[in-house]
Subunit: 219 residues, 2 copies
DNA sequence: CCGGATCCCCAGGGATACTG
DNA sequence: CAGTATCCCTGGGGATCCGG
């Protein structure tokens, strides 16, 4: 383990999670829960198998993840975050919030997974009208479906399809994400290729969290 | 610039700040304010000059830092954080808070700078008795002096020496930091080599922020 | 098909020396 | 003081191969 050799909590944190791919591995385990080797590899397009294997051992030795030889239907190893690993969520939240400012530039070759979109409304928005009844938004970006549920004053997301959504958003990731995080309005999102069917008013319930340098949409 | 090639705000953030030394450069600029090349190099023991030079250019191109050819008394270039760079403070706070759990293990060869200690009480503690009068704590760790000021309900720190401190803490960084962040009590800190002169009661005003997996000291 | 291990190659980064 | 230039080495990308 290469170290900065500094008695500073930031440097020591980076000694453990500062290597390439490490924080993205934590991201996948946070978003997907316990994962098989192949699940992780699918969620980390571009990673070399040997690197993933070595990193898993390092992170297990560092106490960030646990490896269990899983129950019969799966019959393979499952990797999960330990308590210390779960405690990295605020780091990923802060990084992801800061990184939103970089999401407007187009990079056509970027890969995309639904779980990368799903965390945005749960982490970076609040329900502006928590007293209103529960509602369900179906999101489809690049054929990857996800569901946003507003209930109990909170915002929850999961992968997959809803049975009877109140609002359906379909379009390229840039349009969907921009709309959900408030960096673009509905008309601009439509201009980016978004289609919205159902209760458009639900969009006003998604109030972006304050962020420096980004104009928040009014609720 | 090596990229992960993922349309995910965390991945895009790491595209910009995920390289080695980058976040520590931001740390120095956050803690020290505008810096000359040499100031940065001193605050980043172990960095190669060519790497620092190249990284400064990259970060300037990315819009994280600005470079000014400074006024006459200095007559050299000054590097400072831009608005986007300052917005990384929550990321460093989250990393530093998580990394506190790694600060109890001893690594004798680690280097140390006072500014790495100074951010801890300001970021990771609150004043448990904001109504009480202002107070000044002089901290000396490994001959590096810093000042902690409690006033207006907040905690502020700066490098250097105070004229008439209410409490003086002197000892190795592990003892001082452990005491200030609440991971060790006063007696344990004394056992680690700390000496405390003055109003010991001021220590109870430093209430550590909640953190998973770390026992907080009662206030 | 899953879960890796092995090998080769290249770029990012470390150490040192040198220059305006 | 503020970098630049050079050399070298290791970490990581890519492909292939192997055991269960």
């Amino acid at each position: 383990m290469r170290t900065y050799g500094q008695y500073c909590s930031i440097a020591r944190a980076l000694d453990v999670v500062g290597d390439r791919w490490t924080l993205l591995m934590v991201r996948e385990l946070l978003l997907q829960g316990p994962c098989r080797f192949t699940d992780l590899k699918k969620g980390l397009p571009g990673i070399a198998a040997n690197l993933l294997s070595a990193r898993l051992r390092e992170l297990e030795a560092a106490g960030l993840i646990t490896r269990e030889d899983a129950p019969p239907p799966v019959a393979t190893a499952l990797y999960a975050l330990s308590e210390d690993g779960l405690a990295l969520e605020p780091v990923l939240k802060a990084l992801g919030l800061w990184g939103l400012r970089l999401m407007t530039t187009e990079r056509p070759d970027d890969t995309f997974r639904a779980q990368w979109l799903a965390y945005a409304p749960a982490w970076f928005a609040t329900d502006a009208d928590p007293g209103a009844g529960p509602a369900v938004i179906q999101v489809v970006a690049s054929d990857e479906p996800a569901v946003i549920e507003l209930r109990d004053g909170g915002i929850h997301t999961r992968l997959g399809r809803a049975t009877d959504p109140d609002l359906v958003l379909d379009g390229p990731p840039r349009a969907v994400l921009g709309l959900l995080t408030g960096v673009v309005g509905l008309e601009a999102a439509v201009g980016l290729g978004l289609s919205a069917h159902g209760r458009h008013d639900l969009l006003t319930r998604l109030r972006p969290v304050a962020q420096d340098g980004t104009r928040a949409r009014g609720g």
